[in-house]
Each structure stands twice: as structure tokens, then as C-alpha cells.
């Protein structure tokens, strides 16, 4: 057992770090990466992605023939680990390069690969993922957006929701219903959609946290050529599962919430009963409980990294990660609040940066308990895929979509 890199990994890490030091600023302070994609400076993001591309870090695991580096998953992880210490704008590319573009690479035609991959890696074109719909929620396959064949084209009508970055995306991968007469998983097909095409209408969703990183996307008679279909007609659900599987490859990313050691640090500056709150046994016990989970998730990511470096697929670490971290972040923010007494209801901006971070955790934690699989869905995933328990009873199983009652 050994927490250090192999010589090859160490060499790669050193070269990455050297390049980053030369080209970016180290991040400061405790604030996390909640800013998401809404308020970013797209120009800065594009510039950073372009320089990564030039340096060979934009598509590390992608074969050279497609414009990548032809590297290993562990190299990609090492790059991510190193980059996370720097203040660089990567948010707008996360979903596109993490999930959409790999889907295009795997399911698209040669023409698609020639047309789309390099502009995506270089950052010239941004991608978004169009799966979720208002009526669906966790039940993604219940989607209603219709694609109707018309000559060589498909005509799209319907609405997507929670589409991250749709307001600046150039292309999207779109899951639509091509056959409502079969069971709901069977009648779906995946497409590439031009987000600038006529009939695409993007409307930001204002979140309770104030920003608007997500969108509703409306499709009114949007035409997509059949050549921009990804995978076979009716095979969209399997294509989508492949897309969602990509998430498992990006193990061990924290969410930047206000954490256990930050509570301890904060508690040194506040008092309980006239003594530093950091010496209060109740504060200290909570710090220990939370720290165990945080450190445990970090260790789980090391285990995933170990699996990756052996060429194995990581386990369900990502599900465990979010299922533990998001509710804990909410709990921590709630507790931290009382360390400032009645001022706990004031906006952190009235006090200092640490409190701004607490507030941001408190406002974002409810969203993180939902997005990318709710607390409940993640536990179902663990119960079913890891423990082998049965799926929930499906009253809609095998029923043609157009005969479902709601």
C-alpha cells in the first residue's frame, strides 16, 4: 500500500503542475466552486480551454486520432487533481466534455467526429445535455418531447428543463420520443441539436440561491437532419445510459462546501460561554463526526484512483460521495450559523468571507441533494446495483407510453 505516485505518474504530475504554475493562478481562500456556469466569463473560459488544448490537457484520454492525447484515465485524474488547486474557469465545459462529447465520439458517425470533436476540445464550441423534462423528474424515460419524422428530417416539439449552460451552448445532445406506441424506454432516440437553430428558445431558471445556471429549453418545430441521429432509432435509452455512466469516471471531486475543518477554524474566532467555541466539546464532537465522513470520501476517491490506475472501473464511489456530502453540507451550514448567534440570520456579506461561504453552502446544499440524482435515487442505485435488491415496483412496466395515465 502506497499513497504516492508511480514514477511515471509522478513525472506526469510534475509536468502538469509546472505547466499550471506557468499559466494560471493558485486558488485562495475557502470558497468553493458553487458559481456554476451562470455568471462565468465565457471569454475567459474559452481562452483557458484553448490553452489546455494547445498543451495537450484538454482531452487526455481521447485517442490522438480524434485530437486527444491518447493518455490514461489516471493521467486525466492527476490533471484534475492538480488543476483543482488553481483558479481557472472550467465550469462551462464540465458537462459537455464530460458527458456529451464522449457520447458523440462513441455513437456518432465519422463525419460527426471530424466535425465536432476538435472544436469541442479546443473550447470553441460548448455542449449541453437535454434529457430532463418538467413532468419527468427522476423518471427521465417518461419524457414527452416528440421527434416526428418528416422526409430526411426529424421535427422536434417539446420542452426540456434543468439544462445547465443552455444559454451559451452551441450544440446539445437531445433525447426525444420517436415512438409513443411502445413502452416508455423503448420509443426514445438520441440526436445532436444545433442550439442556434430556429425554434430553439432558451429561458434561464432563477434558482432560490439567486443565480440562474440552469434553463428551460423549448423546441417549436425544430428540424434535425436524420444524419444527426446518435445511435439507432428507438435505442435512445441505451445511448443515454452510456452518457450517464460517464459520470462514474470522474470520481472523487469535492463540491467545495464549507467543511469540518473550516467549522473548527471558524469556531476559533467565536465564543461560547466566553471561551473560544473551538474548545467547546459539542463543537468538537461534531467536527470529528463530519471530518470522518469527509476524510472517508477522500479515501474512497483514492481507492477509485487505485482502481483506475489498474485499468479497472471504479465502484459506486460517486453515488456514495454525493449521498453523504450534500446532506452533511446542509447540516454543517445549519450548525455553523449558530456560531454567530443572532447574527446567523444576517447575510455573510455583512460579516466576512467565511460567512459568505457558509451562506453559499446553506443555499446550495438543497440543490446538491437533488441534482444528479436525489438523496433517494442514489440510495436506490446503491441498493439495486451494489446490493442486488429489486427495483421499485413499476406499475408502468411494459405499458405503451401513450396509454400511461399520467
Amino acid at each position: 500500500m502506497d499513497f504516492s505516485d508511480t514514477p511515471e505518474e509522478a513525472e506526469f504530475r510534475a509536468s502538469v503542475r509546472k505547466w499550471l504554475e506557468a499559466n494560471a493562478q493558485r486558488a485562495r481562500g475557502t470558497s468553493g466552486r458553487f458559481t456554476g456556469t451562470g455568471t462565468d466569463d465565457i471569454g475567459a473560459a474559452k481562452a483557458w480551454q484553448a490553452s489546455k488544448y494547445e498543451a495537450g490537457y484538454a482531452a487526455i484520454t481521447v485517442p490522438e486520432v480524434y485530437g486527444g492525447r491518447g493518455g490514461t484515465p489516471i493521467q486525466a485524474l492527476i490533471y484534475r487533481q492538480e488543476e483543482s488547486a488553481f483558479a481557472v474557469p472550467t465550469g462551462v465545459y464540465e458537462i459537455g466534455l464530460g458527458m456529451c462529447v464522449p457520447t458523440v465520439m462513441m455513437q456518432g458517425s465519422d463525419a460527426h467526429r471530424d466535425r465536432f470533436l476538435v472544436p469541442a476540445y479546443r473550447g470553441d464550441e460548448i455542449w449541453c445535455q437535454l434529457f430532463s423534462e418538467p413532468a419527468g423528474g427522476s423518471d427521465i424515460a417518461a419524457l414527452r418531447t416528440r421527434a416526428v419524422r418528416d422526409g430526411d428530417d426529424w421535427v422536434i416539439n417539446g420542452q426540456k428543463v434543468w439544462t445547465s449552460g443552455a444559454h451559451f451552448a452551441d450544440f446539445g445532445i437531445l433525447l426525444a420520443r420517436t415512438d409513443p406506441t411502445v413502452a416508455k424506454h423503448k420509443g426514445l432516440t438520441m440526436f445532436i441539436v444545433d442550439m442556434k437553430a430556429p425554434g430553439v428558445d432558451v429561458r434561464p431558471i432563477e434558482q432560490m440561491s439567486g443565480g440562474a445556471e440552469f434553463n428551460e429549453v423549448f423546441f417549436a418545430d425544430v428540424r434535425i437532419p436524420d444524419s444527426d441521429r446518435l445511435g439507432a432509432e428507438g435505442d435512445g435509452w441505451n445511448v443515454a445510459l452510456g452518457t450517464l455512466m460517464m459520470e462514474r469516471m470522474s470520481a472523487g471531486q469535492g463540491f467545495g462546501f464549507f467543511g469540518a475543518t473550516e467549522v473548527l477554524e471558524l469556531a476559533r474566532k467565536t465564543e461560547i460561554g466566553g471561551r473560544p467555541a473551538s474548545s467547546d466539546a459539542r463543537v468538537r464532537e461534531r467536527v470529528a463526526d463530519w471530518w470522518i465522513n469527509e476524510q472517508g470520501l477522500k479515501l474512497l476517491s483514492y481507492r477509485a484512483q487505485t482502481a483506475l490506475s489498474k485499468g479497472e472501473l471504479p465502484g459506486p464511489e460517486q453515488s456514495v460521495n454525493k449521498a453523504i456530502e450534500a446532506p452533511q453540507a446542509q447540516e454543517i451550514a445549519y450548525f455553523a450559523r449558530q456560531l454567530r448567534g443572532q447574527a446567523g440570520s444576517m447575510d455573510g456579506e455583512e460579516i466576512d468571507e467565511d460567512w459568505v461561504h457558509v451562506d453559499r453552502s446553506w443555499l446550495w446544499a438543497p440543490g446538491m441533494r437533488l441534482g444528479g440524482g436525489t438523496d433517494e435515487v442514489l440510495r436506490n442505485i446503491i441498493a439495486e446495483r451494489v446490493l442486488g435488491l429489486p427495483g421499485d415496483v413499476r406499475v408502468d412496466k411494459g405499458v405503451p407510453f401513450n396509454q400511461l395515465t399520467s
Binding site: 446567523g344 440570520s345 446553506w362 440543490g367 413499476r394
Partner: protein, 368 residues
């Protein structure tokens, strides 16, 4: 054994409920949140016109002389509607006058409170510093008050405040007319539907409320009464959040059936129900204790405080969770409850202190 409100009190609750449902739908709280107004005059007038503000004030001071239970049932309905009104702050001031005011002070102010002519509040906190008897910075000396208090609930709309201050004889409660010698600054807060302010006293004229040196004990007693009132607001709001979640769970379908048919949601909502019921009976016990000046008041107030925090916090956050993505949007009413829950959990000081008071009270009663 009659551990419940009386039929008359329940009728009053119905009446307040109808009035507030009409005068303060959740859109009122949203208007306040987005800066439309600092409080809902419509809802405030509805409460004043029902005579509620004077319910616990004796007739000799212009009130109805009913008692405190009527104030409590009203708090519950305000909680249910999240009505953005300076009710808690005004009643806390009335309680301070009732308990510690001279005849002259009572005569001067209580009729105006009962009549809804003045908004009141209390000012204790001094920023994020711990609030203790031995570290107060705001000072009362020679009839003048100096220093800063923040956050003060309704501090920017109140006309009169009871302020916790130090004097040469120890802590004291003092009464300040906020129209004189006080500058105010609206604070940025996380629940803008209820305004908070910084009050800057620059030698403002003020007068003692009760005796100098006994102010900390008086303040503690006042906070016990505030805790009971606030607990009713929290219980009302927690109930409403649970109803929202329940209704959505019945209406929203996933995988062909209502999400409320999954045990993940069912057990979640059952847990909220249980937390609400526990909080409700503690609040009810507190109401009994505050209305009878029972020796149990410190214990009942503390357990009402902690159980109501627990219930409302849980209900507010799991209401979002039950709603899924839509619950996280700005347009959803879920956020109104989430923000209010945080405000209320912080208002009367750290929960850990209130828990400690529970154990201290148990020890005292066992020793007795």
C-alpha cells in the same frame, strides 16, 4: 386535564386564519422578500382590527384583558401564512412593558400597542459576538444610550424598542423612542421577507425599564416568553411546509405513480409529522406556562424553542427535497419556508444555549 386551547380560543384561531388567508397569502411574504415593502400593512391591519394586539393587555391599558393564549394562537396562524408582519417584535415589547414597566410607561405605550398605532421591537444582539451579561457594549448612562445593536428584527420600522444595555450597576433593560437620536441601517439578510436593521444609538434619550442591575434576569424572562410565541409561529410554518410537501407528493408522479406512494417519501413525511407534533405539544405547554406564570416556564420555553427549531428546519428543508428540482427555483414557495426557518432558528440566540437551559432546569427541579 384539559391540555388544549379552549373552544373560544379555537374560534379566534379560525377567525385569524380566515383573515390572514385573505390578507396574507404567500405572495405577501414574496413581495417582502423581493423588496416590495418592509411589512404587509394589509395583514398587519387585519391583525390589529381583530383586536389581537391588545388580547394580552389588561383593559385598564386599552387591551382586551383576555390572556396570552390568544397571542399564541395568532402566532401559529402567522407562521402558517408566513405573514410578513412585526407581530413577534411588537408583542415582545408589550411583554416587556407588562412585566417591567412603571405605571407611567404602561399608560404611555400599552394603549398605543393595543390599538395598533405603534410597532415595537427588542434589541439585544451586538453583531456576531457572543451575547453575555459581562460583555455588553451598548451603554446606558445618565439617561442616554450609546452604541450599536444588530441585527434588530423590524428595527427599521419600529417606533419603540426595549434595549439590553450595560449600566454602572450591571445590565439593564431600557426603553427607547426610536424616532429620537437613533440612526438605522437596513441589513442584508438571508430572509428579506422579515426586515432586520442595525440601530446606532448616539446618545439617544432613553429610560430604565425595571431596575438597573436586574436587566439580565429580566431579559432572560422576556426571552422565555418570546420563545413560546416564536415556537407557535414555527409550528404553524412547519405544518404548512408539511402540507405543501404532502400535496405535491400526491400530485407529482414518477414511474407511473405518485411520489407519495414511495416509502422514501412516506417515511420522510411521517418523520416531519412526528417532529411537528412533538413541537406542537411543547409550544402548548409553553403557552400554559407563560399564561399561568408557572415555575416550569424556563423549562417549557427551552424545550419549545429547541423542538420548534428542529421541526421547522426539518420541514422546510425536506419540503424542498420532496419537491425536487422545482423546489429549488426562485419561483417556488419552498424557499420562503427555508429562509424563514433559518431566520427563526437564529432569532433568540444559539440553540446550544437553550439545550443547556433544559438540562439546568431538570437538575434544579430534581434538586428541589
Amino acid at each position: 386535564m384539559n391540555f388544549d386551547f379552549s373552544d373560544e380560543q379555537k374560534m379566534l384561531r379560525e377567525q385569524v386564519s380566515r383573515a390572514l388567508t385573505e390578507a396574507a397569502p404567500l405572495t405577501e411574504a414574496r413581495t417582502a422578500l423581493t423588496g416590495g415593502f418592509e411589512y404587509s400593512e394589509r395583514a398587519w391591519n387585519a391583525i390589529a382590527e381583530a383586536g389581537i394586539l391588545g388580547a394580552g393587555i389588561p383593559e385598564e391599558y386599552g387591551g382586551l384583558g383576555l390572556g396570552r393564549l390568544e397571542w399564541c394562537v395568532t402566532s401559529e396562524e402567522i407562521g402558517r401564512t408566513l405573514a410578513p408582519v412585526p407581530y413577534l417584535s411588537t408583542i415582545v415589547l408589550a411583554e416587556a412593558l407588562l412585566a417591567f414597566g412603571s405605571a407611567a410607561q404602561k399608560n404611555m405605550w400599552l394603549p398605543r400597542i393595543a390599538g395598533g398605532q405603534i410597532i415595537g421591537t427588542w434589541a439585544d444582539a451586538e453583531g456576531p459576538r457572543e451575547l453575555r451579561a459581562d460583555n455588553l457594549q451598548v451603554e446606558f448612562k445618565s439617561g442616554r444610550l450609546t452604541g450599536k445593536k444588530l441585527p434588530v428584527l423590524d428595527g427599521n420600522i419600529a417606533g419603540l424598542a426595549v434595549v439590553l444595555a450595560r449600566t454602572d450597576d450591571g445590565p439593564a433593560l431600557v426603553l427607547v423612542d426610536l424616532e429620537k437620536g437613533v440612526s438605522r441601517r437596513a441589513l442584508k439578510t438571508l430572509d428579506k421577507s422579515r426586515p432586520q436593521a442595525e440601530l446606532h444609538f448616539d446618545g439617544a434619550p432613553a429610560e430604565l425599564l425595571g431596575k438597573a442591575g436586574e436587566g439580565w434576569t429580566a431579559y432572560t424572562q422576556l426571552m422565555n416568553r418570546a420563545s413560546v410565541l416564536l415556537a407557535f409561529e414555527q409550528v404553524g410554518a412547519a405544518d404548512r411546509a408539511l402540507e405543501m410537501a404532502r400535496d405535491y407528493a400526491l400530485e407529482r408522479h414518477a414511474f407511473g405513480r405518485p411520489i407519495g406512494s414511495y416509502q422514501g417519501i412516506k417515511h420522510k413525511l411521517a418523520n416531519i409529522y412526528m417532529a411537528n407534533e412533538i413541537a406542537r405539544v411543547h409550544a402548548l405547554w409553553g403557552a400554559w406556562a407563560t399564561s399561568t406564570d408557572a415555575s416550569d416556564l424556563p423549562l417549557a420555553a427551552a424545550s419549545a424553542r429547541v423542538s420548534a427549531n428542529r421541526a421547522f428546519t426539518l420541514a422546510a428543508q425536506e419540503n424542498i427535497q420532496t419537491h425536487g428540482g422545482i423546489g429549488f427555483t426562485w419561483e417556488s414557495d419552498c424557499q420562503l419556508f427555508y429562509r424563514r426557518a433559518r431566520l427563526y432558528a437564529g432569532l433568540l440566540g444559539p440553540e446550544l444555549d437553550w439545550k443547556e437551559r433544559i438540562v439546568t432546569s431538570i437538575e434544579l427541579s430534581n434538586a428541589a
